[in-house]
Every structure is written in structure tokens, then in C-alpha cells.
């Protein structure tokens, strides 16, 4: 009898555990849907009680984002944060930072707009500085709060080059602000018949700052006078794995990701 009661208790305990796990799973899926819909609490919404209440609203006006969306004042509040030379306290002669950079205070809906804005923040003067230096400065000057989700990316971009073993070790797990990068470009290598095991193998994978990953990927695709106005990708067509690998490492060094 006691054994029977004990068995019932164990079964109830298991049911309770599975119910809790299901609850967490469903909550996670709901969060995933919201993230996919670019949900963010600071984005403006049509007030409750109005047509379309609760829906995200586009705001039109005088400041145009790269996607074409416009930013305008809402209710007389300031809509742009002006990042001026000298505000980051690294001297007034920041290279290339002579213009005021305008950053929308409200988080842009489009991720490509957000990336375009963040990548224009002058990070070069902070290369090699201790982790967190530029994010702290952005906090100190009251930069828009939505930039915080990009502090890992900004920090990663200023950390300076690492050894190949450090970059490979970083590829073992996912880190905010970093991407897994293929030393030999993945798509062109697979198209030309190199085996997946080689292309996606550990020797070919490194963890690099996301913004540098984008820079290097762009470099492979852009036409360059050095290569007779062809792109590196075009130039490497039909080349050996070894040659592609050498170029991949060379690019990582030139973009100051690899020591």
C-alpha cells in the first residue's frame, strides 16, 4: 500500500515537472515570436482605444533612415540625439569624426537601420582600450538607451587582434557581439565542390566581432583597384583550398582581427 502511494507521489511529481517544463517552453516560443516581430517596449505604439491600438506605428518626418523610414518628433519631445565631436572625450581630432552624428532616440524598427547607425559611431579611437570603455562613455553622455543592445558588438569591435587559437576557441560557443566566420569563404567554397566537412570543419571556423565579420565579407565582394577592379571572391575562383586559406588569414590580419 505504501509502495503504491509512493508510486502515485512520484508520478504526480513527474507530471508537475513536465507541466512546468511545458510552461517554460511555451513562454520561450512566445518570446521567440515577439523577437522575430522585432518587439521592443520602447518602440512607439498607437495609444490604446484608437484604431490600430497597440500596433507599432511608423513615424514620419525630417530625418530619413537608410531603409527609407523617417523619424520625427512625437508630442514635441526631442527625437534625435546629436553625437558631437569631443563628446566622447577622446580629443576633438577623432579621425573622420568631424560631423555631428544624429541618432534616433526611439529604437528604429528595422534592424538594418540600427546597424547602419551603430556602425557610424566612431570606434577607432577606442581600439585596444579596456573592455567597456566606449559603452561607458556612451552611457555617460546619455546616448539613446536602445544602443545598449549593441554594446557587446561595439566592445567586440574595439578589442584588438587575437591569436588564431583564441579565435578558434571562441568559435566553440556563441557570444554576444561575435559571429562564427569561415576563414575560407563558405558559399563560394561549397559552390566549387569543397566538402562540407572541410568548409565547416574546426580549422576553418573562427569567432570574430560581428561588425568585422561584415567588413571582411563585404571586402570579399567589393571590386578593388588592387585586383584590377575585380573582387577577391572573383579572383579566388577555381583556386586551391590552400590559396584560399592563405588569403583568408591575410584578410583577418589586415582587418586587425588576427595577430
Amino acid at each position: 500500500m505504501e509502495a503504491q502511494i509512493r508510486n502515485y507521489e512520484i508520478s504526480l511529481s513527474r507530471l508537475s515537472y513536465h507541466a512546468a517544463a511545458l510552461h517554460v517552453l511555451l513562454a520561450g516560443r512566445r518570446l521567440q515570436r515577439l523577437l522575430k516581430a522585432n518587439f521592443h517596449p520602447t518602440e512607439p505604439r498607437v495609444p490604446r482605444g484608437n484604431t490600430g491600438g497597440g500596433q507599432w506605428t511608423t513615424i514620419g518626418g525630417s530625418y530619413r533612415l537608410p531603409s527609407g523610414a523617417r523619424v520625427m518628433p512625437v508630442g514635441g519631445e526631442p527625437h534625435l540625439f546629436k553625437l558631437r565631436p569631443g563628446m566622447l572625450d577622446e580629443g576633438d581630432d577623432l579621425p573622420g569624426f568631424e560631423d555631428i552624428q544624429e541618432i534616433p532616440i526611439v529604437r528604429p524598427h528595422d534592424s538594418s537601420d540600427r546597424h547602419s547607425i551603430v556602425r557610424r559611431i566612431p570606434m577607432a579611437p577606442f581600439v585596444g582600450k579596456p573592455a567597456g570603455t566606449l559603452p561607458r562613455k556612451l552611457e555617460d553622455i546619455g546616448a539613446p538607451a536602445w544602443l545598449r543592445e549593441y554594446y557587446p558588438h561595439i566592445d567586440a569591435n574595439t578589442q584588438g587582434p587575437k591569436s588564431l587559437s583564441e579565435l578558434r576557441a571562441g568559435a566553440q560557443s556563441s557570444r554576444p557581439g561575435y559571429d562564427i566566420h569561415h576563414i575560407v569563404e563558405k558559399s563560394s567554397a561549397l559552390e566549387e565542390g569543397f566538402p562540407k566537412s572541410l568548409v565547416n570543419g574546426p580549422d576553418n571556423l573562427v569567432s570574430v566581432p560581428r561588425f568585422m565579420h561584415w567588413e571582411i565579407t563585404g571586402w570579399y565582394q567589393t571590386r578593388n583597384r588592387i585586383f584590377d577592379w575585380r573582387s577577391p571572391r572573383e579572383l579566388l575562383r577555381h583556386d586551391s583550398w590552400a590559396k584560399r586559406y592563405d588569403v583568408g588569414l591575410y584578410a583577418l590580419r589586415k582587418f586587425e582581427v588576427l595577430k
Partner: protein
């Protein structure tokens, strides 16, 4: 942007230099916005202008752009003037290569490597 025919018809070298600057500024925005296809199309416009300036023996008119505030303008101007003012152009590339501002820092560094080993010969 102007077509090849209309570029050739411009009888002012100043206008060509101004157009070159505008194209480079557009390329700078393309790189930050990851619009690579547009960047590559703009390369054709740059080639037309550079060929015309070479025809007119006026490439040196790009030299003032070596001190432009925009790094893409400086980079393209340096690459375009290596033949007519190698020391000044290389100095501009050296500064870019140490700037940590990408991709121009990487491009400048690669250009200097290729110049040094002879695999890139300015034209």
C-alpha cells in the same frame, strides 16, 4: 549619376573631380549600409572619370582630396594618384592603414603590401 557620354562632355576638370568626390562619398555610405551591389556599380563610374582625367593628363587634380575628411575619398584619391605623386599618395595610404577605420585601413595596408612586392603596379 552621370552617364559616360555626359561625363566626357563635361569640359570642366573641376566638375569631374567634384563628381569623383560625390561617388566616393556614395561608396562610403554603401559600405556602412552593406549595399555592395551599388558600391560595385559605382566603381564603373570611377573608372570612367579616372580614364578621362588620365587622357587629359589631369590626375594630379585629385591630390587635394588626399586630405579630405572622408576616408573613402582619401583612399580612392590615393590609389588614383600613385602614378602622378607616389610619395604623397603612399603617405596617405600609410595614415589610412594605421587608422583602425575599416575597410579603408585594410585596403590601404593591402595596397602598400602589393606595391612593395610588385604585384600591384599603378596605372
Amino acid at each position: 549619376m552621370r552617364s559616360r557620354a555626359s561625363l566626357i562632355e563635361l569640359d570642366s576638370t573641376d566638375a569631374l573631380v567634384e563628381e569623383f568626390e560625390k561617388i566616393c562619398l556614395d561608396q562610403y555610405e554603401c559600405l556602412l549600409d552593406r549595399k555592395i551591389a551599388r558600391y560595385n556599380r559605382l566603381v564603373d563610374k570611377i573608372i570612367i572619370i579616372l580614364d578621362e582625367l588620365k587622357l587629359r593628363s589631369e590626375r594630379q587634380r585629385l591630390l587635394p582630396l588626399l586630405s579630405h575628411k572622408n576616408r573613402q575619398v582619401r583612399y580612392q584619391a590615393a590609389m588614383a594618384t600613385l602614378l602622378v605623386a607616389p610619395a604623397r599618395a603612399k603617405e596617405a595610404l600609410e595614415r589610412l592603414s594605421k587608422s583602425h577605420e575599416f575597410p579603408q585601413a585594410a585596403d590601404a595596408s593591402i595596397a602598400l603590401d602589393k606595391l612593395a612586392d610588385g604585384s600591384f603596379v599603378p596605372s
